[in-house]
Subunit: 232 residues, 2 copies
């Protein structure tokens, strides 16, 4: 039997990942990827219809690296675990990450992860009408944070606050001045990520019906607000 056509797809994706790891995302071209495995650029078109489709496949491969949560742990642990896994994958392949918001990313693996999120939110006792929105919010926060961390939105702008304050006319930025001490302090991104996820999960917990377990810590008057009514 001849070697199946599908059999070289992983090889090509590996090559693409190598290129992106070594020389950045914009160094990925059909020529550079093909050359790495001794092929002609046009050979890749037997496996992917376009460069776009190849990049989508690269992203899919990345997402397959996220490990499923250990069975039998509570909903909160599941959500925490998945958040950390996403961040870990992102940190392993920082240059590829921008694809995740540029491309629609509808792949089986995304479906599976989403399903785990749905199950966890169901187990948490969140009313079903709220679940899709909360799942999207959680995903947005996790992906948004990781992407900002990796692609520089949190980077130079935030890390050199002294220079930033000096830039415009003096006294133009009273907020920055009042917070100078805090802004100069280096940031522990791990801790910040943990705090954000934790806070989001508190929010989820507050949305759960029946308050199955009254929040362990005495949280001062967190009156659950009536939801904005959605219609349509």
């Amino acid at each position: 039997m001849r070697k199946l056509k599908e059999s070289r797809r992983p090889e090509i994706l590996d090559a693409a990942l190598q290129v992106v790891a070594e020389r950045g995302l914009e160094a990925v071209s059909m020529r550079s990827v093909a050359q790495r495995i001794g092929l002609t650029p046009m050979a890749l078109y037997g496996y992917f219809r376009s460069k776009e489709e190849l990049l989508d496949a690269v992203l899919g491969r990345l997402l397959e690296e996220i490990q499923p949560p250990p069975p039998g742990c509570g909903w909160r642990s599941v959500l925490v675990h998945l958040s950390y896994e996403v961040r870990a994958v992102a940190q392993r392949h920082p240059s590829v990450l921008p694809l995740i918001l540029t491309r629609p990313a509808v792949s089986p693996v995304v479906l599976r992860v989403n399903d785990l999120l749905y199950q966890a939110l169901l187990a948490a006792g969140v009313p079903p009408a709220e679940i899709p929105r909360l799942e999207r919010l959680l995903g947005t926060v996790v992906i948004g944070h990781v992407l900002s961390e990796v692609s520089g939105r949190f980077g130079a702008g935030t890390l050199d606050p002294a220079g930033r304050r000096a830039q415009p006319g003096a006294g133009e930025l009273p907020g920055h001045e009042a917070l100078a001490a805090e802004l100069d302090r280096p940031v522990d991104w791990d801790a910040e990520f943990r705090a954000n996820v934790d806070e989001l999960l508190d929010l989820v917990e507050r949305r759960s019906v029946a308050e199955r377990r009254p929040l362990a810590e005495p949280r001062p008057l967190a009156e659950p607000r009536p939801l904005v009514e959605r219609r349509t």
Copy 2:
């Protein structure tokens, strides 16, 4: 006096915005932009050192469209206003948005917006040590939501849930099945954005010291959309 070189920068940025509005972000090239105002591609290099710098300037121009909040309104109104402004700008120029997370975006206008956020959080009574993180979280949620909405992460994948459930082996996605009714319902993205911002601001309020006003006070459910109308 000779016409200053700086004088044509806005013209070039307008041309770039037209190109991106009509033919998408990847249709922006030095050639296409220059042609639109009757110039040679190389002429642009007198105003921008590279295409990258031009795109950064385009993004900066967009951010300048966001209107400052009307003076004298409360911290919560300020934050709501700014969130909605960002979303409005994004919806006016959806194709340009991916730049905002791809590029570091350190510009004076970003500084000014951040400063307004800092001031609002200070006014809310949030302890200073918490403010930088909360500002980043708020920004991440707003930008992440808008970007997901615009660039398709919320799009095809979520909008055709029936087809998605049919894709993998039956029974592989118990979460999706349990939520089928909810997932089939069309989504009101305006309402979802409002709800997310509102929830984040509740979170901010809960972080504020002294609980200056105990939240029992009836807050108008629907924040009236900022009245300030833009002109350009």
